[in-house]
């Protein structure tokens, strides 16, 4: 059985006539990584936000179905979704620093988060946080728990975000441009870290990114979106080496490559 199945999903914003996402279907099996690439406005982020039940105001699912572990996510109440989010399904964002309250210490927020999902004393929750941070290769977890977000580098904040997202060993991790704000060497570290989650916990991942190289590297299945529609899908070898769609071909041609297209002689 698929862990997540999206069937014919359409999402619209406000009274806008053109749907942001139109008739998108995808399946994710346990332990599988699905990458969605596309340029801004292609609807890639809207897809995973719909799964999370976190569409921005004015956004609503206008058609289709989202099944998680066989049952629909769409009809659930806010409380049911809230219990699911952060435990069975979690999400990491482009800048995990921005989702953390800047005037509270990392530890305070981490403890609060753990205690909303599990009955633990503050001390135990703190210890749990430290343990997760250290598992994510953040040295001296205790020190990080006592830091404010601005005291950490972008790469460290992203690791904190991943550590928090993985606290309850979710079955599904949704990653929205998780490396786009990072330097290239840090990006490589974070990509490797996300891939290790699958090895360790068999976590399924949907990653949304405009970086086609990152998407392809991580993907078991790769989807290319444009104007709210999936224009191409397949294994990364299929999509990268034998793109069938014209848009995919243009997109691939525009990616700067070492030894590729030169603009000057």
């Amino acid at each position: 059985m698929e862990l997540l199945e999206i069937r014919d999903l359409s999402v619209g914003y406000g009274k806008h006539p053109r749907p942001a996402v139109a008739h998108v279907s995808l399946q994710v099996r346990q332990g599988e990584v699905v990458s969605i690439v596309g340029e801004s406005g292609s609807g890639k982020t809207t897809v995973i936000r719909a799964v999370m039940g976190l569409l921005p105001s004015g956004g609503r699912v206008t058609g289709g179905e989202i099944l998680f572990e066989g049952s629909s996510l769409l009809g659930r109440t806010k409380e049911e979704l809230r219990a699911l989010r952060g435990s069975r399904i979690s999400m990491i964002f482009q800048d995990s620093g921005a989702m953390i309250n800047p005037i509270r210490r990392i530890g305070d927020q981490y403890v609060e988060y753990i205690r909303t999902h599990e009955k633990l004393s503050k001390k135990d929750a703190f210890a749990r946080g430290v343990e997760m941070l250290e598992r994510m290769r953040l040295p001296d977890g205790k020190n990080i728990m006592n830091s404010y977000p601005f005291q950490l580098s972008g790469g460290m904040r992203q690791r904190v975000g991943i550590a928090m997202a993985m606290t309850f060993e979710p079955r599904l991790l949704l990653a929205d441009e998780p490396t786009s704000a990072l330097d290239v060497t840090t990006q490589a570290q974070i990509v490797r870290q996300i891939m290790e989650l699958r090895e360790r916990w068999n976590t399924s991942v949907i990653i949304v990114t405009h970086n086609i190289g990152v998407a392809a590297y991580m993907a078991d299945e790769l989807l290319v979106m444009q104007h709210g529609k999936v224009v191409e899908r397949g294994t990364r070898e299929d999509v990268i080496q034998h793109p069938a769609d014209d848009y995919t071909r243009r997109l691939l041609a525009a990616v700067p490559q070492m030894g590729g297209k030169r603009y000057v002689s």
């Binding site: 801004s40 490589a188 570290q189 086609i212 490559q257 603009y263 000057v264």
Partner: protein, 318 residues
Amino acid sequence: MSHEPILTARHVTKQFPAANGRLLTACDDVNLTVCQGRTLGIVGESGCGKSTFVKMLVGLLAPTEGEILFHGDDITKLKGEALRQNRRKIQMVFQDAWAAFNPKMRVVDIVTEPLLNFGLIRRSERAAKAQELLEMVHLPKEYIDRYPHSMSGGQRQRVGIARALALEPEIIVCDEATCALDVSVQDRIVELLVELQQKKGISFVFICHDVALVQSLSHQMAVMYLGNVVEVLPGHLVGTEALHPYTQALIGAIFSTRMDFTKKIESIESEAPSPLDVPAGCPFQNRCGHCMERCRREKPKLVEIEQHHEVACHLFSR
């Protein structure tokens, strides 16, 4: 066409005062040359000093030490009207065109403001001049009446380029000018820059953190790390001849659609130290796989390995 050096930075150092009486060295003894009608690419990660360096080139910051020679004259010593006149020759395009424009100004006012500032056109000539500038960057003439918010990111960046072109500068500095754009839009903007270079002989300084992009558009590429230039080499040789371990690490961290997807990513661990505590010796020592005892003691100098190829690394010093 000859490619004479027109702008030369010599021993340029920039330090900023930091808390507790310490000094942050953003650029440390940088020597780089911009040649007429060519593109100098500068690549490096955040905090490497590349933006600080180009701000000194355009006169937005003054170096702590060193000189910047433009046609032989040190522009860091310019003051008053001479400084103002010099700005005409070196213009800048910013990363975020959205933030670089006054949102209440129309395109016609944005692109002709520099010309009015220097008294080069009359107000009555604005519309015609703006249309001419938009044509150069392949935007429809009707766009002169638009506001920045009613254009796409790529179109806004074209307006930014049009504004930089208005004063017919000799050098245009692009600070991450395409990084906020989608790849297909980036591709078209870079083609536009190259076209302008070929038509008008403009020199470009192009900074970006994407080494694959920078090497593809640079005649000469410089790699910066913690305020130091660690390697300089021709763009077309970056893929095959780059020597410095940090340049190698940058190339190794690229996720390419042509890579072998089964291979483990070789990324360097850890992060760059704070520019407040740059270690003695080689700045890259704590992340380098080839670090020797000498690297901790003595800072390597940038030396010429071959013509147009310089490296600052003890592995290659003779």
